[in-house]
Amino acid sequence: MCFTQNFWSLLISGLADGFLYALIALGYTLVYGVLQLINFAHSEVFMSGGFAGYFVLQATLGSHTTSGWGSVGYVALGIAAGAAGGGVVAFLLERVAYRPLRRRKAPRLAFLISAIGASYFLYNIAGKEFGHNALEIPAPFTNLPWFSIFGAPVQAYYVVIAIAAISMLLLVDRVVSSTKLGKGIRAVAQDAETASLMGVNINRIISQTFVLGGLLGGAAGFLFGLNAGVVYTMGFTPALKAFTAAVLGGIGNVRGAMLGGLVLGIAENLPMGCVQTAWRDVIAYGILAIVLLFRPTGILGERLGRAA
């Protein structure tokens, strides 16, 4: 009974969360593909995107309101700003926190510690600079329901997320499957040394992979912030969930990250008709624990460097 209650609206919010998880999860999976490294500072890439979007909209939109194409333009601007912010931070992260360790052939644990250090640094500096309260992104569109699906109201926000995320997911899928960058990423993921014998500059590919993941994660940070506001701790939970999604789909697997994100978003939202919202995160991390225990290679398997 309780499952059918609010089914459609829970599915819609599940999809919206899922799209965000998918965008963030791609950052984990792409980097894992080329480096076999979990970039635990990716949560702060996400956060940086949120703040970048906030500041750019704050500066351009201020307290004005927009409608129609103007709103579309502002959302696009916010996404672009978020993506740029995420891309820049991801690029710097790789340069500062990881590359020096790679050059020294440091053990795996050193990368993990460096990631955690970078993460703490970034979010504490954000907390110090931007305060400890959530900043509201000036909304370029109304919060009222736009239309309804099977009686479930759909806000413009959900439409924005769906359109933005689907376009980015399709785009990144194409990049990985058929561009030179994508081939380079897959070659490095499958056999980095041989890729270098083919003329692939491994360091450059790694850098570009971080940036690609950063663009997606940063854009997701802005989209998240549109609804929830931006604050220095905003990255923690969504990024951990997205990591779960990446593992669920098969870490290193691009389409797996997309699928894992959507599955997780829906799986943690649908039961909300039956249980209190406090169970949401319990369900999500329960899924992570179960996947790690019983199918550590995820739904689609750990197919390194593969598009699907």
């Binding site: 030179k180 081939k183 380079g184 897959r186 070659a187 499958q190 056999d191 040394e193 041989t194 890729a195 270098s196 014998l197 083919m198 003329g199 692939v200 500059n201 491994i202 197919r303 390194l304 460097g305 593969r306």
Partner: protein
């Protein structure tokens, strides 16, 4: 000027020396073979030429230019193609994508080059959409060679192309190597299959414990009793 010259080359893994004062040269248009038992340092030699390993001392000269410190992707761009030990096909890329990887640094239309590879190895043309990892060992070796040709190398390094292959396939691959040379590519061939390598090559070197212990014209080496005892007897078991 030699196309490739190794001068007093020393390479170490940590503190352990793998190459100890290797001198070797390859002239344009030659096939030179580098022979030696397991662990002699053959692969290390090729890896050092390609920039995967860097010399502790001594020099690697390609067309007179010192490339000992150059990164692998830049060595490739200078005109060195490397068919690595164990083939190292990208397992989850199609035959066609593997070939495209070989031309990673080039722009423009690859059709002609792909067709050229398919003319050398027709079986690859039939399997162009198949994943590299699902090819047979012989097909993978052909693909590895074809992939290296896609960069138009002036010097092609081949690391034990006969390894693990049936005699008929080995014969076919050696014929292709001769053809590649006749089309203008210089070849440095690492082999344990000494007889066939020496029959194909112009000159040869023998590596033992990281040192060149013998070198000369292939026909002389083929007739040398020490070679016959040490390598030809041994390779009969392959």
């Amino acid at each position: 000027m030699s196309l490739l010259q190794l001068v007093d080359l020393e390479v170490r893994y940590g503190a352990i020396p793998a190459l100890r004062g290797v001198n070797l040269s390859v002239e344009t248009g030659e096939i030179v073979t580098l022979l030696g038992a397991n662990g002699a340092g053959k692969t290390t030699t090729l890896r050092t030429i390609s920039g995967l390993q860097h010399p502790a001392s001594g020099r690697v000269l390609f067309e007179g230019r010192a490339i000992g410190d150059v990164a692998p992707h830049d060595v490739l761009a200078l005109g060195v193609g490397h068919v690595p030990e164990g083939r190292r096909i990208f397992p989850q890329m199609s035959v066609l994508e593997n070939l495209e990887m070989g031309a990673y640094r080039r722009r423009g239309n690859l059709r002609e080059d792909v067709e050229h590879v398919f003319s050398l190895f027709p079986v690859l043309g039939q399997r162009r959409r198949q994943e590299g990892g699902t090819l047979s060992g012989g097909e993978q070796q052909m693909l590895a060679i074809g992939r290296a040709l896609m960069s138009h190398p002036r010097l092609l390094l081949l690391d034990e192309p006969s390894m693990g292959l049936a005699p008929l396939v080995v014969k076919a691959i050696f014929e292709i190597i001769a053809r590649i040379r006749s089309q203008g590519t210089t070849i440095l061939l690492v082999e344990q299959n000494a007889t066939q390598a020496l029959q194909l090559a112009d000159r040869g070197y023998v590596l033992e414990n990281g040192e060149i212990v013998m070198s000369g014209a292939a026909t002389d080496l083929l007739g040398d009793p020490r070679i016959r005892a040490a390598y030809l007897g041994e390779t009969a078991a392959h």
